[in-house]
Amino acid sequence: MSEQSTHIQFQNTNKWETKQLVTMALMCAIGAIFMYVQIPILPSAPFLSYDPSLVPAMVCGFAYGPVSGLTVGVLAVVIHALTTGDWVGGLMNIVAAIFFILPAALTYKKLHSFRGAVTGLILGIVCATAASIVSNLTIGVWFWYPSMDFIMPLIGPAIIPFNLIKTALNSVLTLAVYKAISNLITPEKQQVKGK
């Protein structure tokens, strides 16, 4: 075969280690697939349906820190928006992802225990629900709804309960998943037992 004579010199400019990058990418893929899962949970608002798409991002946020979690959450939404063409819905999902993942992952980073995870997730539930109200009132009103008055009456009966249920389901699922796979994330030798 051919001769490789010249010396190759590169700098490794990657922000993340290859393995972390790959894991994040695969989590993104799962998140994007989960968006196709649509489980309607509130009869009063059939277009609001539950999907577990934020779970991978949250798992990543717990495993690798808030920035990675956020990246996964946002990119999964971007992929979905680019494949389906629903960019405006994507924008609202990004807001939801940011406000769900960031508080939880930050808290867990500070308090690396089961209690930290639960506290973080509860914080995430509150923030994400608040953010969804705001994004419905802003992004929703800019792009979709005719006016503020239109969405106001829906906040109490639909948007708040829906987002609470959705983020709570995501949180419980995250805990279950993270617990089961936590010893796959860090190799045996470095692992701190009992979280």
């Binding site: 075969m1 490789q4 190759i8 590169f10 617990k179 089961a180």
Partner: protein
């Protein structure tokens, strides 16, 4: 080309994974590394590529030391690597992007890239595949793309880490041919494998045992030492097995690793007898015909199945693809309308039924019908005489028929082994006591020690234990029929034997077993009846003797014969009058040959 000097390496600083390995690989050599699971083969391979650097000792590629961070990319561009699982080494959606990934990283100018892609594809025999999507390729094709991706970097050495172990026989064969061609063209090949037939083709074989080189030499020297191989969880190639068996029975034969030389040896050894006993008597069958008068448990009646749900879509496709269906060289045409066509057969109580067929022939589709996961588009499937279309029967089917899918360990999910095995019984709504009882029973059946593993996370177990745990999860449902989809895929020879033994034991306890397998040997030796599939229809169904001993050519549909059967055919072609219409195992084949050599009639 590559020289490893006294390398030692440990992942955790305590247990050495490699200790004092010294190995030189010459330019243009075809080297094979063998060893049981966990012997350190992959770890060694990663050292050759600067993916890992030794704790002590040194590895030099082309005189470049791998532990010099300045030279890492030089080393990697010289040594290409292909991994085991075809699914997880391709990085891009399109074939051309994936192949270009390496050269792109090396900064090869854009104008040259597409030429490199085309050349690499040509050398693995996939011309014109640039625009195909990687996920839609068959396993064998994916591995070839992975090789092409390494070749596009113009490496001097190609390392294949069990690259063929997850492929079907056809894919494996193709891959091996590609490697040999590359080797002839001057590429240095380092191949890691569990298949001794592949190792037999190498120039030199290195056997690893717990991080040390145990044996080293030509395949002829190494692969004929049966006892040492067995102690390392390996086995000798079939040709050699036969030769050794013959030797044990008193025929003077030097063991060889390839079939041809063994055939020549046998001919030479019995040359003088052949003239005298040229009377090829077609001997009567030596096994009683199987009586299958037990009650049919599962019945397929003219089952057709299509993955296309609506009839309109089906009709549209049928029109569009009518001529193309013929054109599919092998395997189902991916656009074929029917995944199954007119399938009728029975599974009898207490039997062990083997299902074989090339990739995409519909094996997995058939077995999914057996517990009502999918319903036939036309025709019916009956469970104990009642149609599974009935909701109630369908419910019973879930408990009567236990399904072990391919790589069942990939379905483990619970926190502990106990909970995972208990998942099925709990879904049945049983009491806690009964659940516990069933879990313990199931763990015992698969040979896991409940005290030791029950409270561990299933993800902490070794690969073989995980598979056992997954088996237990199905057995805990107390099924009457156990359906297994390629139960021994991806295991090393010793583990394969253990698992087949486990399945035999379960069968002996009265469980009806349906087993899909790519290995004709396994099916021929273990199953009572064999079902051969081709393009969604049944080609033949009968006892292994009826299916394999008849001279019907299974090759034409992309399947091989069991190794002893194949050898018997070679011997017959070489003029040795072995009787036709017989199903041989290594032992019976050796017996017949010895009998012939002694001047008798086989």
């Amino acid at each position: 080309m590559i020289s490893c000097k006294d390398i030692s390496f440990s992942y955790d600083g305590k247990v050495p994974t490699l200790s004092n390995v010294t190995l030189d690989i010459a330019d243009g050599e075809f080297l094979c590394i063998l060893g049981g699971n966990g012997s350190g083969k992959s770890t060694l391979a990663k050292h050759l590529n600067a993916l890992l650097v030794p704790d002590s000792g040194s590895v030099e590629v082309d005189g470049l030391n791998t532990s010099d961070p300045q030279l890492v990319y030089d080393v990697r561009s010289r040594v290409g690597m292909v991994f085991q699982n075809p699914d997880d080494q391709l990085v891009a959606t399109l074939v051309e992007n994936d192949i270009a990934f390496g050269p792109e990283n090396l900064g090869v100018p854009t104008s040259e890239l597409s030429q490199r892609v085309a050349d690499a594809l040509a050398s693995v025999g996939l011309m014109g595949f640039e625009q195909h999507e990687t996920h839609a390729l068959s396993g064998g094709q994916k591995q070839r793309v992975a090789i092409a991706g390494a070749l596009a970097m113009h490496p001097e050495v190609l390392i294949l880490d069990e690259a063929s172990s997850m492929l079907d026989p056809r894919g494996r064969h193709g891959l091996l041919k590609v490697c040999q061609e590359l080797n002839h063209a001057g590429m240095t090949i380092v191949m890691i494998t569990h298949f001794m037939e592949e190792a037999a083709l190498a120039d030199r074989v290195v056997l690893l045992d717990r991080g040390r080189i145990a044996l080293e030499g030509t395949p002829e020297e190494i692969l004929t030492r049966a006892d040492e191989l067995h102690s390392l969880n390996l086995e000798e190639p079939f040709a050699c097995q036969l030769a050794l068996e013959l030797k044990r029975r008193g025929l003077d034969i030097t063991p060889h690793v390839d079939e041809e030389s063994v055939v020549t040896e046998i001919r030479a050894a019995m040359g003088r007898h052949i003239e005298t006993s040229l009377c090829d008597k077609t001997a009567a069958s030596d096994e009683a015909p199987q009586s299958s008068d037990t009650a049919p448990l599962i019945q397929f009646e003219h089952v057709y199945y299509s993955y296309e749900k609506s009839t309109r879509e089906r009709a549209r496709r049928r029109k569009k693809n009518a001529p193309a269906t013929q054109a599919a060289e092998w395997g189902n045409d991916p656009n074929a309308v029917w995944a199954l066509r007119d399938i009728s057969f029975d599974v009898h109580e207490g039997e062990m039924l083997g299902i074989a067929g090339h990739t995409g022939s519909g094996k997995s589709t058939i077995i999914q019908h057996m517990n009502g996961l999918v319903h036939p588009t036309q025709g019916r499937v009956l469970l104990q005489g009642a149609s599974m279309a009935d909701k109630h029967v369908n419910e019973t089917a879930k408990t009567t028929v236990g399904m072990v899918f391919q790589y069942p360990e990939h379905q483990l999910f619970a926190n502990t082994v106990f909970e995972d095995v208990a998942f099925g019984p709990q879904n049945l709504g049983l009491s806690a006591n009964e659940v516990t009882e069933r879990v313990l029973e199931a763990l015992r059946l698969v040979g896991l020690d409940a005290d030791e593993v029950a409270q561990k996370s299933p993800f902490e177990l070794s690969g073989g234990q995980q598979r056992r745990c997954a088996f237990a999860g199905v057995l805990a449902m107390r099924p009457r029929v156990l359906v297994l989809d390629e139960p021994v895929a991806g295991l090393d020879p010793a583990a394969r034997t253990e698992f087949l033994q486990l399945i035999d034991d379960l069968h002996a306890r009265g469980l009806t077993i349906v087993m899909v397998s790519h290995s004709m040997e396994d099916i021929a030796t273990h199953c009572d009846r064999v079902l051969i599939m081709n393009k969604g229809s049944i080609v033949s169904l009968g006892t292994p003797r009826e299916v394999f001993a008849s001279d019907r050519d299974l090759k034409s549909i992309g399947l091989g014969l069991p190794a002893p059967q194949h050898m018997a055919r070679l011997l017959r072609d070489a003029g040795i009058p072995l009787p036709h219409r017989r199903l041989y195992s290594t032992k019976t084949l050796a017996k017949s040959i010895v009998a012939l050599a002694a001047g008798g009639v086989a």
